[in-house]
Subunit: 249 residues, 2 copies
DNA sequence: CGCCCTTTTGAGGCATTTCAAACATTGTGG
DNA sequence: CCACAATGTTTGAAATGCCTCAAAAGGGCG
């Protein structure tokens, strides 16, 4: 749980050996351009659980692609408590939070043993100017993050605790499915506390909800292992909002 | 309140006559490049209150810069109720929500008489490739939106209703101040319902809070007119969170 | 084995919502 | 220009979902 990056010799940063190029911005590059990006790319050798990819306050150096494992991004508020703003999985591009003013506004930390590719931002920008498809791809990644944060805000603004957990589980389910893993059975890489924090509810509420869902036959749960027994029931729960006067605006 | 754009003859879209270039992505362009962008730029003549800039489901055509007035962006959820996701003011760049998959995921509508510049996306992308500073500027705008949505999520996740309103008022105050208007005295362009919706609380709560703030001598309020009497008191309120177990994560 | 941290479960409290009703404001047609 | 309707705002009282506090049970790890 120490925060230091372990300095294994950097992995070969070549995309050709990577399973996840189809989720990565690199998917739009032909081999020559990949080489051009890869020239300055460093693949941070295994980060252990608790090692930082970057920290709030760090200068912008690179954007990062998760290569394996998973990462959480969080903000330390002035009052010392921490708020998780995102989870990231293989293929995800991180680090946009440093572009607006040159410093990272949040910290990113490995949830489990994790490898990330580091794409020096200025180098990336140069290649993007030469390769319009990459320009597009980076814009799409940024725009996707806008949508993802917006969906998070929507979740926090208009969903009950129950619906939030249902949505979270469906979100995890989809991410696993997209990467060729089981849609219905998986091990979460985050703790109850982290789920609770991300969904902005008390840990106790998350715990109770897991129990409820299991009791109702929607899930089978054992610690971080989750099996979705009734996907349709979960989807129904996900639609329930806290109604909050629908006649609004 | 009909949703149609009124077809006044398009205004001259020149940036040289615009007061807000210093907030606009155009600030990084020299006159030649401005002309190049402006060539395809259309300045939608006055949109009246209730007229749409774009609608959820529309194909991506342009990004838009607010030139005067103000705009709200909202999402129609499946259950018919609507959630406001952002307010925009002169200089703001809108429309990133369409970049990820080619269709707008939200609608943008004028809150008052409003003018917007329309920047055809593909044309903009071309210029951005020729002018790296513009590339940078667009990335910064996108990254700023990521941060803004994230801050909105943080607001909804960890602030009490009282703190939310205080933060909202400070946010408005800052936006007015940045544009050379009074930091402490202004007219809101949105209704109580719209504020409530954006902050995800009941209208009644917003109404009560305005009354409280006035009673406590923090504000003077008359309908949409707001005068901030004690900025420091407001800042104090803005820091108060619903603590929600600070030992998290 | 024993300590620590995470998770679970129960009981009571509180902030905010919901419901209800009066009031103010804006828009509309005669 | 006034009457009336529709909409937005304010205030009060009651209901409730979720949090807080408290305490026990369940793994992980030296």
């Amino acid at each position: 749980m120490n925060g230091n990056v372990i300095n294994f010799p950097p992995l070969s940063a070549s995309c050709s050996s990577c399973r996840w190029t189809k989720f990565c911005v690199a998917r739009v590059l032909d081999p020559e351009n990949r080489a051009q990006v890869a020239k300055n790319m460093v693949c941070s050798g295994p980060l252990r659980r608790g090692a930082h990819v970057f920290r709030q306050g760090d200068d912008l150096k690179s954007l990062y692609v998760v290569r394996s494992g998973s990462v959480k991004c969080y903000i330390d508020s002035e009052d010392g408590c921490e708020q998780i703003v995102a989870f990231h999985f293989p293929g995800d591009l991180l680090g946009f939070d440093a572009i607006a003013d040159g410093r990272h506004q949040s910290s990113a930390i490995a949830l489990e043993t994790t490898a990330v590719c580091s794409l020096p931002y200025h180098r990336l920008a140069q290649v993007a100017i030469e390769v319009p498809a990459l320009w597009n791809e980076i814009m799409r990644a940024a725009a996707s993050q806008v949508m993802e944060k917006q969906n998070h805000a929507l979740l926090l603004g208009q969903k009950s605790a129950q619906a939030r957990l249902a949505i979270f589980l469906l979100y995890m389910s989809n991410r696993f499915a997209a990467r060729g893993c089981s849609r219905s059975e998986f091990n979460l890489s985050m703790s109850r506390q982290e789920i609770a924090n991300y969904l902005a509810v008390a840990v106790e509420t998350i715990s109770r909800l897991f129990s409820d869902f299991q009791r109702r036959g929607i899930l089978e749960v054992d610690r971080r292992y989750v099996k979705i027994v009734s996907l349709t029931a979960l989807k129904d729960l996900a639609l329930e909002g806290r109604v909050l006067d629908a006649s609004n605006a």
